[in-house]
């Protein structure tokens, strides 16, 4: 389960450092006020791979995910220590432009949250905000391309001016994914993106994840073991704020090394 050399082994037995390591988290502690939510988490995430985060409710998956695009900054009580590098760059360095950072890291939430705007404007929002595209034709092209990539274009190309909120739940979720990829992020964070979706919509999102991973690095929180097994190459198991085990997804679901992991993935936790 440990990759690389001895030096990569962290106190809590995690791995980091691979040829294609993109996100490198070392000894990350997170507190909400004086309540600790993450304990010394060290986790490496490889480029152009899907990594799933699994673990019981409240174990810190969303907290960890939010560390990666500094979304925790907006929570007043939240404090973070440790080190998170993306492409070798410390994202908590005071000189970092957080808006620019977030443009490189798209996020998709559990509940689809389209803006109260048209389908078109939902997708165009990011590129406009970041001043990436000003030309009208170019913007049209971008919106179309993003919706195509999100597997939504054919279904809604005649409804671009309708409110995003008028779409079905599964369509809204794919709209949010289109919105996330419209700014050409390197990384897409997904927090239980399918938990409100039916099996068909879920399958479409999973198909999309499969396609996206050729260009993007994806970190997905999921409560479905089967989904983690289907979509991800690596899986990390969290428990009570600790990273317990990380490894190739296949091994986690075939023969995990840690008993707590085994108990959780087999439904014995409790």
């Amino acid at each position: 389960m440990v990759d690389g050399t001895e030096n990569d082994i962290k106190p809590n037995g995690n791995y980091s450092s691979d040829n294609n390591l993109l996100i490198d988290c070392k000894n990350v502690d997170v507190f909400y006020g004086d309540k600790q939510a993450l304990y010394n988490v060290s986790l490496g995430i490889n480029e152009k791979e899907v990594t799933s985060l699994i673990g019981p409710s409240g174990c810190g998956k969303s907290t960890f995910l939010r560390c990666l695009n500094r979304m925790n900054d907006v929570i007043d009580s939240c404090s973070i220590s440790g080190n998170i590098k993306i492409n070798g760059e410390d994202i908590y360095n005071p000189h970092i432009d957080v808006v620019e950072l977030r443009s490189r890291i798209g996020m998709v939430f559990q509940k689809p949250n389209p803006f109260p705007k048209s389908v078109f404007d939902n997708v165009a929002y990011g590129p406009r905000l970041h001043g990436k595209i000003t030309d009208k034709d170019e913007m049209h092209h971008k919106v179309e391309a993003s919706l195509v990539r999100a597997g939504l274009w054919d279904e809604i190309k005649d409804r671009l001016n309708e409110p995003g909120t008028s779409l079905s739940g599964g369509q809204q979720q794919r709209l949010c994914i289109a919105r996330a990829i419209a700014v050409d992020p390197e990384i897409i964070l997904m927090d239980e993106p399918c938990s409100a979706l039916d099996p068909i919509a879920t399958a479409k999102i999973e198909e999309l994840i499969d396609e996206l991973k050729t260009n993007y690095t994806i970190v997905i929180v999921t409560h479905s073991m089967q989904q983690a097994a289907r979509v991800s190459q690596r899986t990390a198991f969290f428990h009570l704020g600790n990273l317990i085990e990380v490894g190739d997804t296949e091994n986690i679901f075939r023969s995990p090394e840690n008993e707590q992991t085994e108990a959780y993935v087999t439904g014995r936790y409790g």
Binding site: F253, S255, V265, T266, G267, R268
Partner: protein
């Protein structure tokens, strides 16, 4: 391992393992009968073994049905997945053992032992049968206890059965050479030896599966690395 949060999941898994264990008991019973059969050329017993093979097949079918249901309804993971997956494989191995026992019985019914003039060869076959019985008994015992130490021993000692098998072949061939008139009586014994050897192979297959269930690793892989380490010394 502790129990599942959903206790009926434990019941379902136990039913599957119990089905495999029952199959094992039936096959061990059949091997016991084969031993007697070889000693006594008992045709009634041969018929009984053939009839019992249907029971073994039914048990196998029932394991398969339960596995279907548990895969569809629970999508087992990790240790559970290993248990379910290996139940399918072990039940197939045991079914094959049943077929071998049936094969031997059929040969006996055809009169293969009627003219046997070689009590020494018969007694070698009886020894082989009892070795195979013992090996299968050990691995099934391990399986039922979710242990694997003794299975590893059986797995490593399979060559003993193989060498007994070679010994029997040589014995039969030599007898044929010295007494060509006995050829018709002796050749059928070759087939019986071959059947028993194949049952022995199934015992090592079961050992591999049990090892996989318990450790999550391949017995093959383990052996290879050990051997490699030895050769570097």
């Amino acid at each position: 391992m502790t129990e599942h949060i959903v206790s009926s999941y434990d019941d379902d898994l136990k039913e599957i393992s119990d089905g495999v264990i029952n199959m094992g008991d039936e096959v061990l019973g059949a091997l016991n009968n084969i031993e007697t059969l070889l000693k006594n050329n008992d045709h009634e017993l041969a018929k009984k073994i053939i009839k019992n093979d249907l029971i073994i097949n039914d048990l196998g079918q029932s394991v398969e049905n339960k596995v279907f249901n548990i895969l569809a309804s629970r999508q087992p993971m990790a240790i559970d997945l290993r248990i379910v997956f290996s139940a399918v494989k072990i039940s197939l191995y045991l079914e094959r053992c049943g077929d071998m026992c049936k094969g031997i019985s059929n040969r006996v019914l055809k009169g293969d032992l009627n003219e046997a003039q070689s009590p020494e060869t018969i007694s070698l076959l009886v020894n082989m049968c009892s070795m195979v019985h013992s090996n299968l008994g050990i691995v099934m015992e391990d399986y039922s206890k979710k242990e694997c130490d003794n299975s590893v021993k059986v797995w490593k000692s399979d060559s003993e059965i193989d060498s007994l098998y070679s010994e029997i072949l040589m014995d039969i061939l030599n007898s044929i050479k010295t007494n060509p008139d006995a050829t018709d009586a002796l050749v059928p014994l070759l087939f019986i030896a071959r059947y028993l050897e194949r049952v022995g192979d199934q015992a090592t297959n079961v050992a591999e599966e049990t090892y996989f269930v318990v450790t999550g690793e391949d017995l093959e892989g383990l052996e290879k690395t050990e051997v490699e380490n030895e050769t570097t010394f």
